[in-house]
């Protein structure tokens, strides 16, 4: 299929199109109208948040004890979840991408399940496993007197459960599409397998690793259903920002809007930092 540039274009326009590649830039009307509706649907609620924000009292709304505590808790639990996901998720991504064993497809499906599972179901599952009367939790309670629900550890566990699959999937995809020639070259030069992993594989997939970690962090920050079910809600201990927003709507709507704005700004920052080239491009080619 060849594209011919229409003859009514100026030389500069023709050069620009040749550089960009592809067919005509104008959008056909049957696609434009639904696209505009989609844009309106996605953008108008966010505009509503900005329009109704208590801009004058923002500082006061955010400095309430609950809001600050929720912010601090959310930030450190999301970071802890991301750290745990990196430590145990990257090796799993490597196992899924580079090794082969019976049941691998089933394992991959199970590992990606939290991506599709409703978060509150994840919370119920965690409770049934690690709750005080859960099938594992009861032994923790009987032998060590350790109960996980209602502690910040439960928050980190809930967030890791829902966010780790993002990292695993991103890194697995990058590993699959990476050029194994570099790793083979390193091996023939005498590098041991862990050295190859450390000094060749990881730098090769670093952009995807970074993007996956950022996605994982953002998902952990926004987690609500699993956290509120498994960890409960107590300001300072387990009340993360999304939960604080939920309850603040009843008591202090200004604080709810202010916290929502903070989460919006964080989300936009995450998206901007990811940018196209991290999501679309895999390892450095």
């Amino acid at each position: 299929m060849t594209f011919t540039t229409p003859s009514h274009l100026t030389a500069r326009e023709r050069a620009r199109r040749a550089a960009r590649g592809g067919p005509s830039r104008s959008v056909p009307v049957p696609l434009l109208v639904p696209a505009l509706i989609a844009i309106g649907f996605l953008v108008l609620p966010l505009a509503g948040l900005l329009i109704r924000a208590p801009w004058g009292d923002l500082g006061a709304a955010l400095s309430g004890a609950d809001a600050t505590q929720a912010l601090i808790l959310s930030l450190w639990t999301a970071s802890a979840s991301t750290a745990i996901s990196l430590v145990i998720g990257v090796p799993l991504a490597w196992v899924l991408a580079r090794s082969s064993f019976p049941g691998q497809r089933l394992l991959r499906a199970l590992v990606t399940l939290p991506l599709v599972l409703p978060p509150v179901v994840g919370g119920v599952a965690l409770l049934l496993a690690f709750g005080r009367t859960g099938f594992l939790g009861q032994y923790l309670d009987d032998w060590f007197g350790l109960t996980i629900p209602f502690t910040p550890i439960a928050v980190v566990m809930a967030e890791t459960f829902v966010a780790m699959p993002f990292l695993i999937i991103t890194v697995e995809g990058a590993l699959r599409s990476a050029d194994q020639g570099f790793e083979e070259a390193a091996a023939t030069l005498g590098a041991k397998r862990m050295t190859v992993f450390r000094r060749v594989t990881v730098p090769l997939v670093a952009p995807s690793l970074g993007a996956g970690a950022v996605l994982c962090w953002a998902r952990a920050l926004g987690e609500f259903g699993a956290t509120i079910t498994f960890a409960g809600s107590l300001p300072g201990q387990t009340e993360t920002m999304p939960i604080a927003v939920y309850y603040a709507l009843e008591t202090d709507p200004d604080a709810a809007i202010a916290l929502s704005l903070v989460l919006l700004v964080v989300s936009i920052t995450v998206l901007v930092s990811l940018r196209d080239r991290w999501i679309r491009r895999g390892p450095v080619s």
Binding site: V29, L127, T133, F150, L234, Q237, T238, L249, E250, T251
Partner: protein, 264 residues
């Protein structure tokens, strides 16, 4: 390309025309906007009621439906504070039954209800799992750091009354979780995730053998009044008023008393 555009534009125009005509025809019909089923009966109302009213109001709803053929009652149970916020934001309720006068006053002040009438009173009790792992024998035990306590969020009526009781008893309680409504506190106790929870007397009764109750002495006890009112912009005012009258009637009061509610 042009033909495709014309066809799409035509379909869009037909769809828009269809939407506008159906909305103008349904505005005259009396139908509760909350009922999604196509077979909504002529007199269908939605009652927003406090979570602690779940058992009694469900029963009253069934009795009302049988006594008034052609009318149906649907319920939305939840924390009174959350329900009040929803009503003020325009949720399609016809009746509001709150577990405290504070939340009802919020709705009245916003102009969404008028002339609330009190129909019941409730007091609290400590609920513990049947095995009583925290060895709770009185409400004062809840202040012990080893006892895991679940309370309602402080803005919900059950949280407000619990705070009053703790003040009367002169204790400070550090809960492990603040739940959205009283039924979820009960669930935490039933599943054994906590050692104790502050719930209403009626909730302990409704839970049967799933929990054990620890009575609160009268000197420390606090109570809450339950008002009920029709919502101002209800589209089924007569059915709504009939339901409110039913709750206040001797039949309604009998159901409430049997469940453990006190007379206001």
């Amino acid at each position: 390309m042009r033909r495709f555009a014309v066809i799409t534009a035509g379909l869009a125009a037909v769809a828009l025309a269809g939407c506008s005509s159906s909305s103008s025809s349904s505005s005259g019909a009396a139908s509760a906007s909350s009922s999604a089923s196509s077979s909504a009966s002529k007199g269908s109302i939605t009652v927003f009621a406090a979570a602690s009213l779940m058992g009694t109001f469900t029963q009253l709803g069934k009795q009302f439906d049988s006594a008034h053929p052609g009318d149906t009652v649907k319920f939305s149970f939840g924390p009174s504070s959350g329900l009040a916020t929803e009503i003020i934001s325009g949720a399609p309720a016809d009746v509001f039954a709150s577990a405290s006068s504070t939340n009802m006053e919020m709705v009245v002040k916003a102009g969404d209800a008028a002339n609330p009438q009190t129909f019941a009173k409730n007091t609290m009790e400590v609920a513990v799992p049947p095995s009583n792992p925290g060895k709770v024998t009185s409400v004062k035990d809840l202040s012990k750091s080893a006892v895991k306590v679940a309370l309602c969020q402080p803005q919900v009526p059950c949280g407000v009354v619990a705070a009053e009781i703790f003040k009367n008893a002169g204790i400070t309680v550090k809960p492990v979780t603040l739940q959205p409504d009283v039924k979820s506190v009960l669930t935490q106790v039933e599943t054994g995730n906590v050692d104790a929870g502050m719930v209403y007397v009626t909730d302990v009764m409704a839970a049967g053998t799933k929990v054990k109750g620890v009575t609160i002495p009268a000197s420390e006890e606090a109570s809450t009044l339950y008002p009920i009112a029709t919502i101002s912009n209800s589209k089924q005012k007569s059915v709504a008023q009939a339901f409110v009258a039913y709750v206040l009637s001797p039949t309604g009061q009998q159901v409430l008393t049997a469940a453990g509610f006190e007379k206001p």
